[in-house]
């Protein structure tokens, strides 16, 4: 059984919180507990921020799409833009260096996504860039939202 929804915003930071709120609610509805839903929310917000900031250089008027689909026991989120693409291998390599630098003001987004999600990948084809985030869903036996184990 697949359950799927697509979200889309214009490339502006002002709209990103609406994505975060929606993603959190969708995750809760798919059975993720509050902490896991918050982890997906944060990862998606980081990915969408990167589209606005880097792929579109904060230029409004472009579209960022967030495709959420639950299937085979996992949530798959694809964050799509048609802006500048990213050297994913280099970004991953840099991510760990930045994360270790306590004085860095930025550069933590990729590290955060890779830490919180069960899988992260990036593909760019014909001008369409897609960052893919995977989070395992609780099995049916534990499907009810559980209190956050913080």
């Amino acid at each position: 059984m697949t359950e799927a929804i697509t979200l889309a915003i214009d490339s502006q930071f002002d709209h990103v919180f609406l994505v975060g709120l929606s993603v959190h609610a969708v995750c809760a509805g798919l059975g993720l507990g509050d902490e896991a839903a918050g982890a997906v929310e944060l990862s998606v917000v980081e990915a969408v921020n990167n589209c606005v900031e880097h792929a579109y250089r904060e230029e409004p008027g472009h579209r960022v799409e967030i495709h959420l689909a639950a299937a085979f026991g996992a949530l798959r989120v694809a964050v799509r833009d048609r802006g500048r693409c990213l050297d994913w291998a280099a970004a991953c390599a840099r991510a760990d260096a930045y994360a270790a630098d306590a004085a860095a003001e930025g550069g933590r987004g990729v590290f955060i996504m890779r830490s919180l999600m069960d899988g992260v990948d990036y593909v760019s084809t014909d001008g369409l860039n897609e960052l893919i985030l995977i989070k395992r869903l609780p099995s049916a036996a534990t499907e009810a939202p559980r209190p956050a184990a913080s």
Binding site: D14, V16, F17, G38, L42, A102, E105, G109, I112, A148
Partner: protein, 112 residues
């Protein structure tokens, strides 16, 4: 981003009044925090108890203020909810900033 300010003894208590500290407010949030540091408040308790969500840009604004403060003072975090505390822990910022559940404990620690 509304940052409510109050003086308690030698400490400036600054409370973030938004529920979300994200890229929408990060630039303004950073400017306001830097202004506090520039206004010669070496002891700052940043109250995040109303904040449900913070992303790496919001965290970056706090790191910027902390850097500006350098060894002249101290900035501590008050009342972080689980989602906020999780981000500090994940990025190891809980080793950089002392974090207190409530203001009284932060004030006691900052004033020795």
């Amino acid at each position: 981003m509304e940052l409510a300010q109050r003086i308690e003894g030698s400490v400036l208590v600054a409370k973030a009044c938004d529920h979300r500290v994200d890229a929408r407010q990060a630039a303004d949030f950073k400017l306001q925090l830097l202004a506090l540091v520039a206004a010669d408040h070496p002891l700052i308790a940043l109250d995040l108890s109303d904040v449900d969500f913070i992303d790496s840009s919001g965290l970056g604004a706090i790191v910027a203020a902390h850097k500006q403060l350098g060894t002249r003072g101290n900035l501590v975090i008050v009342g972080a909810k689980p989602a906020v505390a999780n981000l500090f822990r994940l990025t190891r910022m809980d080793k950089v900033f002392r974090m207190y559940p409530a203001e009284a404990e932060a004030l006691a620690a900052l004033m020795h």
